[in-house]
Symmetry: C2
Subunit: 253 residues, 2 copies
């Protein structure tokens, strides 16, 4: 039997945001591999093997997936959101390139999903409506100076910024440092959006300004969007405000 | 009866990439509004009204949607991909902000979808695996100088670049101008990926270099990804090459 390896994205949280293509891949799998928190979102199927792990050791997990596929299993690697955005797909390809030469012949596929910034943007309105950048604030895999360079470059380009992994218990201060840096380049009135648990049933939205942003709490489940010079807020009586970035740079309502 | 307005993203093309949440919103609608090419992808439901239009006049379409919701209809605005990424959501909020004051009280929601760059990235491997920017090359809504400023900024930040709307019949030369500009900042060997009709059944992948990229054709259905300094290609005997960007900047296999 010829094995397969499919790297899927479950979407941001709610089951109705998982694509039918991903659900089908999960049903066909003989083996699931992934971080236990994401695996808990996958319906149990009798006879299917589950190889859970914690959130680190991505390359080990990737090698295990390639080995199992090489043995003829139908393996699915489970990511949250989209597997190609700050998730498992890049780890699998790195493991493939650096591993056994015949792993390159394996039948490997990526099934896309709704990544967190899309769900966060949808909840807030349309803040990613114009050109934007996505930056992970985690310095586990890159240096803080690279992150700073990218925040400055994004500011110079007047991009909207989507910040993934803004803070964790081991990195509590980086988001505040990022805001401090951005304040040198963007006005205090810049729109800043926090969405926690975007695209899940307990999602929470907070819209504020860059001047105030550092006082608001964030964790690994928070997605932060920093507006460009044209991002706007619509205030509404009795309803949550909405934020959007006009597609046209000439739009100044 | 109280109307609703839901702005949905159908995903990139294949029906199995449309989220169940979007399919349900489409089933519940009394009125659909959208570009005829996207509307053709939505299954017909008896009694449901369809208001089709061409690909321009986004603000007119948005105002019509708000008016119908205000009259008590359950309106769904149909976008391809994700409605918040170079699509209709921003137009609806702009129409809301500049329109009748009581439109702000309407029940408006955005249902996210798989945007084209995620499907293109999945087909190519994982080229968006590290920090990236998304830029629309269309200068219908912004000046070419703004686009150039953003391409330079993205290069200074060593971001991967996802280029939406790279070319159309009325803008045949802009992608070549973009490549020319990028060549001043990035090496000739930079990985460039073309995916046409990403996430649909006739999707087509081409992986090349920045030196060669200008000779390859692109149109409005093409998504172009320009790699960062760390984006790599895995060559495979008898199978299409794969491209990925390692999450770790230290990865140099």
């Amino acid at each position: 039997m010829s094995g397969t390896l499919t790297i899927v994205g479950l979407g941001p949280g709610a089951p109705e945001l998982t694509t039918p293509a991903v659900s089908e891949a999960l049903r066909q799998a003989t083996d699931l591999i992934g971080y236990e928190t994401y695996m808990a979102r996958v319906p149990l199927i009798e006879g299917q093997l589950r190889h859970t792990s914690d959130n680190r050791v991505e390359l080990d997990r990737a090698r295990q997936a390639l080995r199992l596929a090489d043995e003829g299993r139908r393996v699915v690697v489970v990511s949250s959101g989209d597997p190609g955005i700050f998730a498992m797909a890049a780890a699998v390809f790195e493991a493939m390139e650096t591993g056994d030469a015949h792993w390159r012949a394996l039948d490997v596929r990526v099934e896309p999903g709704v990544t967190a910034m899309l769900a966060a943007s949808a909840m807030a309105g349309a803040p990613l409506g114009a050109d934007f950048c996505a930056v992970s604030l985690s310095d586990n895999l890159k240096s803080w100076s690279t992150i700073e360079k990218r925040l400055v470059a994004a500011s110079n380009g007047d991009f909207v910024l989507a910040l993934y992994n803004p803070a964790s218990r081991s990195r509590p201060h980086q988001l505040a440092r990022a805001f401090e840096l951005l304040l040198r380049w963007r006005p205090e009135s810049t729109v800043v959006i926090f969405v926690r648990a975007a695209g899940s049933n307990d999602a929470k939205l907070h819209i504020t300004t860059l001047a105030e942003a550092a006082t608001y709490p964030a964790d690994m489940r928070t997605l932060v969007i920093v507006g460009s010079s044209t991002t706007r807020v619509i205030h509404r009586d009795g309803a949550a405000p909405l934020a959007y970035t006009p597609r046209s740079e000439g739009s100044r309502p």
